[in-house]
């Protein structure tokens, strides 16, 4: 009997498929799967979230979370404007809009859970007349009316949950306070619907839509000025300003609305209010007077 160990050829117990090729196939498949599943879950969660009663949604946001730097006059003015627009837009019973004003010079504005709208001085200061401010407010009120914040957050949470589960790190803390600020990504359709509703409200209030288009011009100018860096939520949203501008003009033509008209000026003391708010924003958080409402 002979004993020997002949050389066994390489590669029988291993596959010679290139790892990068395999990686590309698998990663592509996984991304597709996650996107498909996330989208599906997002749609489902979004429509379920829309069914949540508004009172429950308001309870999700702690009151002290959003402070306002507005002086009493500015706050009253903004509240009045929002209330009238809300009336025009037929906000249902029990749905309230609360406007908060930040003295910060951030160029932004957004609506979040519980009918809370946050305007920043940076953007508001750049508005030339009340019509543009109304368009901005109406746009945000429309988001509240359409339940976009809760639907958006529901959608985002579902997508994160799905990807988390698939990738092995479920992040369940999506409804934490951080989520309220970070999850505000509205779909193209949501933005379009909000634009359309806002436009109708502005037309109803002023009889023309002259100032509305101005808002988008300002946004576009700011985008060009800032060189397209980090985009604030209001105008990083999908339909680009030019696109939105064209849609507005098209809608106006279709409906036979006047595109130009006398713009309503902002109150005479508006600039002082802005200065006042900026001053308040400069005071450290702890020393501020708490607004009693």
């Amino acid at each position: 009997m002979k004993y020997r160990n002949p050389q066994i050829p390489e590669g029988i117990n291993t596959s010679d498929r290139h790892p990068l090729k395999e990686f590309a196939t698998l990663a592509g498949g996984a991304v597709l799967l996650i996107v498909a599943l996330g989208w599906l879950m997002g749609q489902v969660a979004g429509s379920l979230a829309g069914l949540l009663p508004f009172e429950k949604e308001m309870a999700l946001v702690p009151k002290e979370l959003l402070s306002s730097d507005a002086g009493p006059e500015l706050q009253a003015y903004l509240d009045r404007l929002a209330a009238r627009l809300g009336q025009d837009m037929d906000l249902p019973e029990g749905m309230q809009v609360r406007v908060h004003f930040s003295g910060n010079d951030t160029f932004n504005a957004f609506a979040t859970l519980g009918g809370n709208i946050l305007l920043f001085r940076g953007l508001v200061e750049a508005l030339p007349h009340e019509n543009a401010l109304s368009m901005l407010l109406a746009h945000e009120i429309a988001h509240v009316l359409h339940r976009d914040p809760i639907v958006g957050i529901g959608r985002g949470a579902a997508i994160r949950l799905v990807t988390g589960l698939l990738l092995g790190s479920p992040d369940l803390a999506v409804l934490g306070s951080a989520g309220i600020y970070t999850q505000l990504h509205y779909s193209r359709g949501m933005e379009r619907a909000a634009d359309a509703a806002a436009l109708r409200a502005v037309h109803q209030r002023y009889g023309h839509i002259g100032g509305a288009a101005e808002l988008f011009n300002i946004l576009r100018a700011e985008r060009e000025r800032s060189g397209g860096g980090e985009m604030p939520a209001f105008f990083s949203s999908h339909p680009l300003d030019l696109d939105r501008l064209q849609t507005i003009t098209a809608t106006a033509r279709q409906q036979g609305w006047h595109e130009n008209g006398q713009a309503t000026p902002l109150p005479a003391a508006f600039n002082d209010w802005m200065q006042d708010a900026a001053g308040r924003a400069a005071i450290p958080e702890g020393q501020r007077q708490v607004r009693s409402d």
Partner: protein, 150 residues
């Protein structure tokens, strides 16, 4: 965003170093296999009785870990099912390395053959995280050491 960047960096590092280490390991395995070829490892339980041999237990073990890239690949493969190619070479390397170490030990003892060779595989560091990538392979057998004829 940073998480994704970190992931990509880890994947690139894993791929680069992993491939390099694997290629080097295979080169060394092939080279040592050729060197130890004259010392056969046999799975049979019945060693030849003649000439007279001394017997000794010899072992060789290896713990190998899989790199980040391959682990990621295996995790992806887990979604779809099928052949986990990225772990094949890991186990192949571990087995051959263990056998070589066993043979090396046999050679130091002056053996000419190893009989009744068996393998034992265990995945260690189980439970730490979801994916494991460390495997221990133990090869053991009985070395036949020729004794001067009486």
């Amino acid at each position: 965003m940073y998480d994704l960047l970190l992931l990509l960096v880890l994947l690139a590092l894993g791929y680069g170093f992993g491939q390099y280490a694997e290629r080097r390991h295979y080169r060394s395995i092939v080279e040592r296999e050729a060197r130890l070829n004259a010392l056969p490892a046999i799975a049979s339980r019945y060693p030849p009785a003649e000439p007279h041999y001394q017997h000794a237990l010899v072992t060789g073990s290896t713990v190998v870990s899989v790199d980040y890239f391959k682990r990621f690949l295996a995790a992806l493969r887990n979604l779809f099912g099928g052949r986990v190619t990225s772990y094949e070479s890991l186990l192949d390397r571990a087995r051959r390395e263990s056998l070589l170490r066993m043979k090396q030990q046999a050679r130091t003892l002056g053996a000419v053959m190893v009989f009744n060779v068996k393998y034992e595989t265990a995945s260690i560091s189980k439970g730490a995280g979801k994916t494991i990538g460390s495997v221990e392979v133990l090869a053991y057998g009985t070395a036949l050491i020729p004794t001067p004829s009486r």
